[in-house]
């Protein structure tokens, strides 16, 4: 009684007929609506009454949203495997990770050797994590230095179909699944299993996909022969519907009963993927609810998830929970691996929050990305941590609302909303955390709590400024502001006199009304004779005269070299990030400081740093205004009197610090989100007393083993024996 542990799934095997061409499309949509997991198209090139399966499948991808898409492709001699690899990745990307693929049915034994080559080539093209180009000098398909990619969204399984012995042996040796009829299955299993074992694979690496007709006995296929996917071979909508409504539920019940007493079995990852696993991680013990979205180094999705915006990483496992309960399970898994690095990530933009590591675990929250409107009259919204701020802005824009966050739409909600949030409306509407009214958090012990000014107020205090230390916030309730269209000015100014410019710009924005918030960026100095400053300003007004009057004094600050001024929605201003995945490398050197005034002394020091190459990206964000309306003791973001947030990205730690240390006495604290220095002294810069002591007390209460230590850990420098580490 083989049982390979595959989740029982169902599909339809359709003929993409030419007349009417929409027939298979309709049946695919019907299959999806009936809850089938998979739609598979038959490809029989000698039948002119069938459409090209790959083309029809791609068309269906545009007409469906959920169902997995497969084609059984024949006529290998008319296809180049390297092109097939690109096609698979393309369909997978376009369908958001729904592509499956099968070769066959194999009719000629001459094809087996070619298939063997083709599978290797397809997999090599898809394996973007490997370095170098693909060279497989096969007899059938000589591939000589083809580039890998595109990177598919998920690991696309390659299945084989055909009942001849060499095909079955090939399936056992290399395929991810085998497709055949009920009659063929028992013998096929025997051959596949022994071929798999002989080549060092687990038989459970190979899914068994069985085509059936309505009325076939199904239970023995599953229980006695380990079928994991049942493919109904029918083009009759009534049959497809009846099978879904009657046969499938009945089979599920019968299978559950028959397996009630059997131990759970988890299908093995392919050996070629297991080889890339990291030490010390109980991959086989990943909670079942987290398995579907777990990503390990051999998975296609790994290349997309390993690194963050500025930092390269090689984690051993990425867990992607979808609910607070799953977050609790992921945390429990992390507790079991306390000795490994552990990172929490909303969208991976973090600078202080590492959000990736080498050989450890990541809890990645991107699947928890909902934005809900709770109440229109009080302008309450509920946001999950994995949403990006541009998505939040777009979701609430139709209500005429906005929530100031940062300056970049690609940043995730969670990291920013637990640290501060110095955004385009900060002078008028304060920090992002100042809008938080309630939050749900999962603690290190897995408990799921709500917190607000009235429920566990100490915890609510802590998560607004030092949230990463306390747990994983799984939802935020914010009260947002009514914001119409805003003035959006992108100016390039002559800043050749760097120090003079910084002071003049600082004085301008400091004296501007609160409706105006301005961020200033200077890059590397390329020529001693010329320096530019990019000044990006949002004015909360849709009146051109007001906008111009706010900007007018800038003309006296410095010569305007370029200007672009428009009236846009806040959501448009925030829609500035691409969907490209992060490919950060190395470890950035970034320093942060908060400043009450741009003094001549500071301006000169900053000028020396930029001219001396200590920073290649130097930004000052205006603060002040509403930030100081909130008392310093109200949240764990304490340095409320600051008028400016200063950030410098350096080419190296030592180069940057040489200049930065000169400025340190001039700062009044720092904003932790932009600080990469992990030395204990930085803690007091971010959390001047009594805040730090209070945070440490709360930390010992809510996270006594210091599980959450990846981002500005308030126990840095505290001796580990003082902690309750097991």
């Amino acid at each position: 009684m083989p049982y390979y542990g595959h989740r029982l799934s169902f599909g339809t095997l359709l003929d993409p007929v030419t007349d009417p061409p929409e027939r298979a499309v309709e049946l695919a949509r019907l299959s999806e609506s009936l809850g089938y997991d998979l739609v598979m198209l038959r490809d029989e090139p000698h039948r002119p009454d069938l459409l090209d399966a790959w083309t029809a499948l791609t068309w269906i991808a545009g007409q469906t949203e959920r169902v997995w898409l497969g084609a059984m492709v024949q006529r290998l001699h008319r296809r180049l495997p390297a092109v097939i690899g690109r096609q698979l990745a393309s369909l997978d990307l376009l369908s958001s990770g729904r592509a499956e693929f099968a070769f066959g049915p194999v009719e000629s034994l001459n094809e087996v050797e070619a298939l063997d080559e083709a599978i290797d080539i397809v997999r090599a093209i898809l394996d973007v994590a490997e370095l170098g180009t693909v060279t497989i000098d096969g007899r059938h398909f000589p591939v000589m230095g083809a580039q890998r990619g595109p990177l598919p969204q998920h690991t696309i399984p390659v299945w084989l179909s055909g009942s001849a012995l060499p095909v079955l042996e090939l399936a056992g040796r290399t395929a991810d699944g085998w497709i055949g009829t009920a009659a063929e299955l028992p013998l096929a299993n025997a051959v596949i299993d022994s071929a798999a074992t002989a080549s060092g694979r687990e038989p459970s690496e190979i899914s068994r996909i069985v085509t059936v007709q309505a009325g076939d006995p199904l239970l023995p296929l599953v229980i006695e022969h380990g079928a994991g996917i049942i493919l109904l071979d029918s083009n009759d909508p009534a049959v497809i519907e009846r099978f879904a409504r009657e046969a499938i539920p009945a089979l599920r019940v019968a299978v559950d009963e028959a397996r009630a007493d059997l131990p759970a079995v988890v299908p093995a990852k392919p050996a070629r993927m297991r080889a890339k696993r990291r030490e010390g991680i109980a991959y086989d013990a990943i909670p079942i609810t987290l398995q579907a979205h777990a990503v390990e180094p051999g998975d296609a999705a790994y290349a997309r998830l390993r690194s963050n915006y500025l930092r390269g990483g090689s984690p051993g496992l990425i867990l992607r929970p979808g609910t607070p309960e799953e977050v609790a399970e992921a945390i429990a898994f992390a507790r079991e691996h306390r000795e490994l690095p552990f990172s929490v990530r909303s969208r991976g933009h973090g600078i202080s929050g590492r959000s990736t590591n080498d050989g450890g675990l990541i809890v990645d929250l991107r699947l928890m990305n909902k934005v809900e409107i709770l109440d229109e009259t009080t302008r309450r919204i509920r946001v999950q941590p994995g949403a990006r701020w541009m998505d939040v802005a777009a979701a609430i824009e139709p209500y005429g609302w906005a929530l100031s966050s940062g300056d970049y739409g690609g940043v995730g909600v969670g990291g920013l909303a637990t640290a501060g949030g110095v955004g385009w409306l900060v002078r008028e509407h304060g920090l992002t955390i100042d809008h938080m009214r309630k939050a749900q958090i999962v603690l290190a012990d897995g408990s799921i709590l709500e917190t607000s000014e009235t429920e566990r107020p100490d915890l609510f205090w802590a998560i607004r400024g030092a949230g990463a230390n306390m747990g994983i916030v799984t939802s935020f309730d914010f009260e947002v502001d009514p914001i119409g269209q805003v003035g959006w000015a992108q100016l390039v100014l002559d800043a050749t006199d760097i120090a003079g410019f910084l002071q003049a710009w600082g004085s301008w924005i400091d004296n501007a009304p609160r409706d105006t918030t301005s961020f200033m960026i200077m890059g590397q100095q390329r020529s001693a004779r010329q320096m530019y400053a990019h000044v990006l300003t949002v004015i909360d007004s849709d009146d051109p005269e007001t906008i111009v009057s706010r900007l007018q004094p800038l003309a006296d600050v410095a010569r305007v070299l370029q200007q672009r001024i428009s009236i846009e929605t806040y959501a448009d201003v925030m829609a500035n990030a691409s969907d490209h995945y992060h490919q950060g490398q190395g470890d950035p050197a970034v320093r942060s400081g908060l400043l009450n005034q741009i003094t001549p002394e500071f301006a000169e020091a900053a000028s020396r740093m930029i001219q001396g190459g200590g920073s290649y990206f130097f930004q000052i964000r205006s603060m002040g205004g509403a930030v100081a309306d909130v008392p310093p003791e109200a949240t764990a973001f304490v340095n409320r009197s600051a008028k400016f947030s200063v950030v410098a990205f350096g080419p190296s730690r030592s180069r940057l610090n040489a200049y930065w240390n000169e400025m340190t006495p001039l700062f009044d604290g720092l904003y932790l989100s932009f600080e990469t220095d992990t030395s204990p002294e930085r803690l007091l810069d971010a959390f001047p007393q009594p805040a730090l002591s209070k945070l440490q007390r709360l930390k010992e209460h809510y996270d006594p083993t210091n599980l959450f230590r990846d981002n500005f850990n308030v126990l840095t420098g505290v001796r580990s024996e003082e902690l309750g580490v097991r």
Binding site: P21, D49, W59, Q87, I125, M144
Partner: protein, 298 residues
């Protein structure tokens, strides 16, 4: 010489893989802007791009009226029998919105790396001619006999014909040199060069047109059977600085002049941003059509 074709307008969009929906989204933008056509380049050896055929099929699925084509598909890496089946299939699924832009191949190192056969320029043109004839044969689904050909590059035996496309798919060839221009005149339904590759700018079109016309006549065809198309690139600017470097009305005038002087009737703008595509479709195209109408009436 205008070859009597109506003015048509399209865009040429990069089939980039990240973000994957770039091309499909711009197809929807182009359709909403009233453009006739969206086209994608095809370089299967470049993994920065999606597979162009897969993208075309997907983009066709999420649009309703716009026509789609490769610009141009790479024949050396796409088997003509397979290509004929695929284009006919998509033409049926899309209600007749597919055209076939096709090229002989150019980047032979990339083609060879993928497992394609490296050909000389002459061989590749010969292969293109065989390929086009084979594709047309496959589309003849009603012919009773199965297909057998015995070319130097493509030999098939007993291949089933069909499916038949939903409409007469136009075969468009990208061509610059005499031999492939003559092939275009003999076999193609459209000629699709790029402005940027014309050695002397638009002035080059005269001699190339003549080459195509002569080959068409020699093959017993009417030269106007071959639509003259042009990939263009440019920038909208406040004042006119050159060809497709200026305000919308100068674009419209230049289009009408290229139509009048060289018979170009399809203008395909390389663009990857929605604003440019919208401007081309909603402002330039109607202006050019209006201007062309005035000239005809005058």
């Amino acid at each position: 010489m205008t070859y009597n074709h109506d003015l048509q307008f399209g865009v040429f969009v990069s089939p980039i893989a990240e973000p994957a929906h770039h091309g499909a989204e711009l197809a929807m933008v182009a359709e909403a802007a009233g453009l006739d056509l969206i086209t994608f380049q095809d370089h299967p050896y470049n993994p920065q791009f999606l597979d162009t055929w897969t993208l075309i099929a997907y983009a066709a699925s999420v649009t309703k009226t716009i026509r789609l084509a490769g610009n141009v598909l790479n024949l050396p890496l796409r088997d003509p029998v397979q290509l004929a089946t695929a284009t006919a299939s998509l033409d049926r699924l899309s209600g007749g919105r597919i055209e076939l832009g096709i090229g002989a191949g150019a980047f032979w190192d990339g083609i060879g790396a993928m497992g394609g056969k490296k050909l000389t320029a002459g061989q590749s043109i010969e292969a293109l001619g065989e390929g086009i004839e084979l594709i047309r044969e496959i589309w003849k689904a009603d012919e009773p006999t199965s297909l057998a050909t015995n070319g130097n590059h493509y030999r098939v035996e007993g291949v089933a014909r069909g499916p038949a496309p939903a409409h007469e798919i136009g075969i468009w060839v990208g061509a610059y040199k005499p031999r492939i221009l003559r092939l275009t005149g003999r076999l193609a339904d459209g000629w699709l060069p790029s402005l940027g590759y014309l050695p002397d700018g638009p002035a080059s079109l005269t001699a190339m047109n003549a080459e195509i016309d002569a080959a068409a006549i020699a093959a017993g065809r009417d030269p106007s059977a071959i639509r003259r198309m042009l990939n263009i690139n440019g920038r909208f600017m406040e004042s006119e600085r050159g060809l497709f470097q200026g305000p919308v009305d100068s674009w419209a005038r230049q289009i009408v002049e290229l139509n009048r002087d060289y018979g170009i009737s399809t203008f395909i703008l390389a663009a990857d941003d929605p604003q440019t595509i919208a401007l081309f479709g909603t402002v330039v195209a109607p202006l050019a059509r209006e201007l062309a109408g005035e000239i005809v009436r005058a």
